[in-house]
Amino acid sequence: MSIEWTKKLSPARRVLRTVALLAVAATALYGCATPTPQCALSETRNLDGAIASAKDRLGAGCQAYFDGYMDQLLEVAAGDPDPENRRAFSEFLVWTSESGLLSKRQAQETWNRYFNVKYVSLQGDYNNCALTCPVRAQVMANMEEELADKERGLLEASQDRAGYYRADQLLKETELVLEATCRACAAGGR
């Protein structure tokens, strides 16, 4: 179960979540849980401008708000959807990796969670009978959550309807195939 629990959050989120919790705890002491003025993003509705602002804040010690920045950037992108937005997010995440804010793996998982058809939630080094089947319901729930993120990234931000459709279809196919495969695995153990 611990594997599945940790998969609910991307590695980037896991690390930053810890930092964020500490930051929130610290700011709570002063009666304020929202970003301090110096950590708030600029109000621009232009994605390049918003990304520049996010880079500026992250570079100025506001790493704890990374999740919030991603959320705001996706919102800005949804206001002006464009296939090129995928590139903008990719470059932003590569920058976070090169700046040492995220590991390369964390940057990859974050980008793929939002902008790739493949599911970050569906990975592991062991076979499906051993790894996936015992926690199939949780895996499917995680994939459902990830599909919602792909809706924001692929569909709303990038207008990639084909990609989003394929991700949706992949989820359905995975559900069917895992149901059959896990029954077959269980029958083998009988």
Partner: protein, 271 residues
Amino acid sequence: MNPRLSTASVYGVAALLLAAPLLAGAAKGPALQLFPTTVLEDIKETGQVAGEMETGLQDVIARLDRQQQLYLESKCDGAEEDPGCARIAKQLGATYMEMLQIMSDRLPDMERAVNGTRTSLEKRLRGELGLKMTPWTLQETLLGNQPDGTEPAQPKLRGRSGLRLSERFRQYYSLVAQSGRGSDHSLAVVASDIYLDMEEASVLIAQTREEIGRATLLEELNQSFGVITPEMQQVVNGVKSILFGESGQVIELAGPPPGLDEMAYDSPLEW
């Protein structure tokens, strides 16, 4: 299995299925072995047995429907003492027993064929998708290697509604043959679909056989049927559902939205 398929074409398709993975494997590693000839033979045989059973039961089920309709239209429900109604009820009981007898004769073959298909697919699914693949390779297999902007060859699935059992198997066979020319991802989905269908059919057949045993025992105890009881109706519906399909909702994968966008950008972060 479609009886119109000749033996030559069956072997032709089988040869194609065997050859296609070999050709594909040269380019992208080991291919899925979900439908070897033994599994194809099982599917073919199940279709044939289903066809024979349908032929045998079609008339008797139609007669049963007519008699039941007559019973209802004659307002016999609650008027069992009426001699005319008693006669219809007796005929109903006799037809029902006739149906059970035909099924009793045919079901063992059907059960064997369905279980054979289920077992062989079960073994393949466990080995190929359960034990040889990780979650990641499974999703890569399902996703296939579609060039950007092209449509994956999707099988039309979920044959559980509105189809005769023999027709379902004919379609299964056709799907497997088409998928064999296509990619592994279709095969995985088709194999899963057939396997789950066989599991469902297997349970229904077992329930029906139990009911036949119960009804035969009642007959042996000389308890004649007055009317079609809910249990009898359930059996008749089950038989219709297995053999002749049902009018439920067809579960289909969603269709693509209009206007497919091209994936113009490949991120260095992409897996």
